[in-house]
């Protein structure tokens, strides 16, 4: 197990190196650079060149990359061009917000989606099942942007119950968390339902019923546990996606998270911040995937890691 984890972490290292090269090259291939963008309207050619030199953008790409990697090995992500602040600081200011939002969204999604999926599967084609699955479909296909605005309109503007901007208190978390959660709940509900339906048709469920187990025990102890693997996969993927920052929800709720940091940095071509943020996403995503794989082992003892 320990060896397996080490091996996976070792592989992750390669993924990260690959990602740094990709991101580094991609953002520099896109037209536009920070010197052209930030220099003011009087700027002369010399001034733009000067700013490029200041930020080390005049050097060959390979040298720039080596400098970046060299700093990285010292634990230094560089400094933001737009704010003069260390990239690590910029990320540290945003990542906790994104984490909060992602966790809140996932909890809501798992609770609502999970319950709806299980109940639907136990009573397939019932009224509840039909209504729940239509709602799930709506959840999957509703634009986050629209749902967020509607939430604000109802709960902030009309009812005045909850704030619509800021990220200071738990109250601020409710609307964006709910928006994210409801959208993700749809996917989880549908996945839980289909996985449960499949499991409920297995012979061992029939056996369990035949030996006279209570229906609740059949469903929770025998069916749900076996149906969980695909559900955990979906939850893991969703969580990874949320950790990357959900640009749309963060924009609607002015939530100071990673998604907006990333988009703002792309608009100003703040290369060091883009690189740093992508690196954090990639790491988070890899670790979550690893976590999901390890969870399989707990859920299904037949799965062993050597």
């Amino acid at each position: 197990m320990g060896r397996y984890i080490l091996y996976r972490l070792f592989l992750t290292l390669f993924v990260l190196v690959g990602i740094t090269i990709l991101v580094f090259a991609m953002i520099r291939l896109v037209p536009g650079d920070p010197a052209e963008l930030l220099a003011d309207q009087w700027a002369t050619k010399e001034q733009i060149e000067f700013l490029r030199r200041t930020w080390g953008l005049d050097k060959p790409l390979l040298i720039q990359y080596l400098v970046f990697v060299g700093n990285l090995l010292h634990g230094n992500l560089g400094e933001s061009i737009a704010s003069n602040m260390p990239v690590a600081y910029e990320i540290a200011m945003r990542f906790p917000n994104t984490l909060k939002l992602a966790v809140a969204g996932m909890v809501i999604a798992v609770v609502i989606g999970g319950i709806a999926g299980i109940v639907s599967a136990t009573k397939p084609y019932s009224l509840f099942d039909n209504v729940a699955m239509v709602l799930a479909l709506i959840g999957v296909s509703t634009p986050a942007f629209w749902l967020g605005l509607m939430m604000i309109l109802l709960f902030s503007v009309k009812l005045n119950w909850l704030p619509c901007t800021g990220a200071d208190t738990l109250k601020h978390l409710v609307l964006p968390g709910l928006t994210l959660g409801l959208l993700a709940a749809g996917i989880i509900a549908r996945q839980t339902r289909s996985s449960m339906l499949e499991t409920l048709q297995q012979d061992y469920i029939t056996t369990a019923r035949a030996k006279g187990l209570r229906e609740a025990a059949v469903i929770y102890r025998h069916a749900l546990k076996n149906a969980l693997i695909p559900v955990v996969t979906v939850v893991g993927l969703q969580f990874g996606r949320l950790l990357g920052g959900t640009v749309l929800v963060e924009t609607v709720f002015s939530w100071p998270g990673m998604g907006r940091l990333m988009v703002d940095s792309i608009f100003t071509r703040d290369y060091p911040v883009i690189q740093g943020a992508v690196l954090v996403f990639a790491t988070a995503f890899s670790l979550i995937n690893l976590g999901v794989d390890l969870l399989y082992g707990f859920i299904d003892p037949r799965i062993k890691y050597e």
Binding site: A43, K45, T54, M85, A167
Partner: protein
């Protein structure tokens, strides 16, 4: 008689009480302002974006500022109280400074501080984004505690206006030296009505009233600035009362607020200074012929665009400068006349029009996509087929900054701000010296205009300068290196309980008038 005296004294007492109560009632409260972006960095030297710089100016003020109403005189005092150009040598300017002012850290404001800040801006080591905007300054000399002499390389009539340009702030020299250039933004110290408290990145900036402000303590206790990028969210936060001022309101929402006064929201429409036009690369194919360029100007119905897209909140461009600029003259207005446009095109050898590509960066300017589509339609009516190419702003900017040989722009939609309200930036960019990577990516140059632009710099009286600038405006409008469209309307909104609040012609919260802003308490 005694009774009358007693009555008078009583009345006077009552009057004083009412006045005092009125003043008292104005004190207190926190003003929450929503901007479209987060302020990247709280230091004028490294910050970009005029509304952002406007917030910084509430803490670190400038020497001068432009008249917030856009009226006369164009340049008003802040930390400099008066200025004059030396009659003997027009390159020498004397600025008299406000006395007895202290920075927030207690450092006295004086001529040394001014010299320090201008030199900081000019020092290449600083890496100031707007260094070129002050490159005309040769040196700064301290004359005495409250007098400073600024010497320009060539005569430069626009100097007081140029110093009003937002990136020029006067920071406490002690604090800059203590923290160093790069870290100064973490605890900036200025002379403004508000002190910097904190900047939670992406979330809020908190400023608190400066009790010792030279203009008297501000009415407000504090100002919070929040970045709310999405316009719909910004306005809902305004309606919910979470913010009291929202920048950049789409016209359709402005209309809703005007029609529904019970929402308690007032629309602010400060005067305009940004010129919105379609730049024409005059070195490209058909645009080499001025008749073609004039034809396109006649082809577009500016009035209809203003009426239908901007609720009539602005006026069409009739000069390369906005009406709020110094020396503005309505030089030439191209009325909507498609027949004349067709005739001019035929005369130039394009009776069946031609095909052309128009680039723009959607989302940058108010209602830009709608305007570009309208222009496309109007040009189609006179036979000019326009292919519209939207580009992300940075990529678009990179295209514009390319020098003539590599520049692929034919037509492009752009807005030129005039934050100094001065002809120097008003007409200066229409010269070869400003060709891309400078602003002029029309690659326009007219020898007569070039001469006159130099001449206005050297003019020593306002009359002389305006006479020259008038001629420049006429020549540029006649040459039409652009399709002159309109001056971009500024539309902002505030809640009705916010009183005496001014956003200036330059999109900044006025750094002096903010002292008087107050919030009416609920009854």
């Amino acid at each position: 008689m005694r009774k009358l005296q007693g009555l008078l004294v009583g009345l006077l007492f009552l009057f004083l009480m009412v006045v005092a109560w009125g003043e008292e009632a104005k004190y207190g409260g926190t003003l929450v302002v929503a901007l479209g972006t987060d302020i990247p960095i709280f230091d004028c030297v490294y910050c970009h974006g005029i509304p952002n710089l406007g917030i910084i100016h509430l803490v670190t003020q400038g020497l001068t500022r432009v008249n917030p109403t856009g009226g006369e005189p164009k340049v008003l005092p802040v930390l400099a109280t008066s200025w004059e150009q030396s009659p003997e040598d027009p390159r020498v300017w004397i600025f008299h400074l406000r006395e007895g002012v202290k920075f927030h850290d207690g450092t006295p404001f004086n001529a040394e501080a001014v010299k320090f800040n201008i030199e900081r801006m000019l020092d290449p080591e600083t890496g100031a984004l707007a260094r070129s905007a002050f490159a005309m300054i040769k040196s700064v000399e301290v004359v005495d505690e409250y007098t400073v002499k600024i010497i320009t390389k060539e005569p430069f009539a626009a100097l007081p206006a140029q110093l009003a340009y937002s990136p020029m702030c006067i920071n406490s020299p002690t604090q800059v030296q203590k923290l160093g250039n790069r870290d100064y933004h973490k605890a900036p110290m200025g002379t403004g009505p508000f002190k910097f408290v904190h900047h939670i990145r992406g979330q809020e900036i908190l400023l608190e009233a400066n009790e010792g402000y030279w203009g008297g303590r501000p009415n407000l206790d504090a100002i919070i600035v929040k970045p709310i990028p999405e316009a719909a969210s910004r306005l809902m936060a305004l309606e919910a009362g979470e913010v009291q001022v929202a920048y950049h309101v789409p016209p359709r929402d402005a209309k809703r607020y005007i029609e529904n006064p019970e929402l308690g929201i007032d629309i602010l429409t400060p005067p305009q200074q940004r010129r919105m036009f379609i730049g024409l690369n005059v070195q490209w194919g058909p645009f080499k012929d001025p008749r073609v360029r004039q034809a396109l100007n006649y082809a577009v119905d500016k009035e209809a665009i203003i009426e239908n897209i901007f609720l009539g909140l602005t006026k069409p461009m009739d000069s390369p400068m906005p009406p709020t600029a110094l020396c503005y003259t309505p030089a030439k207005y191209y009325e909507y006349n498609p027949e004349k446009a067709k005739a001019l095109l035929a005369e130039a050898g394009y009776p069946n029009g031609f095909e052309v590509t128009l680039h723009y960066g959607p989302g940058r300017y108010l209602m830009d996509t709608e305007v570009v589509e309208a222009v496309q339609y109007y040009l189609e009516q006179v036979g000019v087929k326009v292919k519209v190419v939207p580009l992300e702003w940075a990529a678009y900017g990179a295209m514009m900054r390319k020098p003539l040989e590599e520049n692929k722009l034919q037509m492009f939609f752009i807005g030129w701000g005039l934050p100094t309200l001065d002809p120097e930036l008003g007409v200066g960019p229409f010269s070869k010296a400003a060709w891309a990577p400078g602003l002029n990516c029309m690659f326009y140059s007219n020898p007569e205009v070039e001469e006159l632009i130099k001449a206005q710099r050297a003019a020593t009286t306002l009359e002389e300068r305006c006479e020259i600038v008038k001629r420049i405006q006429e020549l540029i409008m006649e040459d039409a290196p652009f399709i002159a469209l309109y001056y971009e309307p500024q539309i902002h909104a505030k809640r009705r309980e916010v009183k005496d609040f001014v956003i200036s012609v330059t999109e900044r919260i006025d750094e002096v008038l903010i002292r008087d802003t107050w919030i009416e308490k609920e009854k």
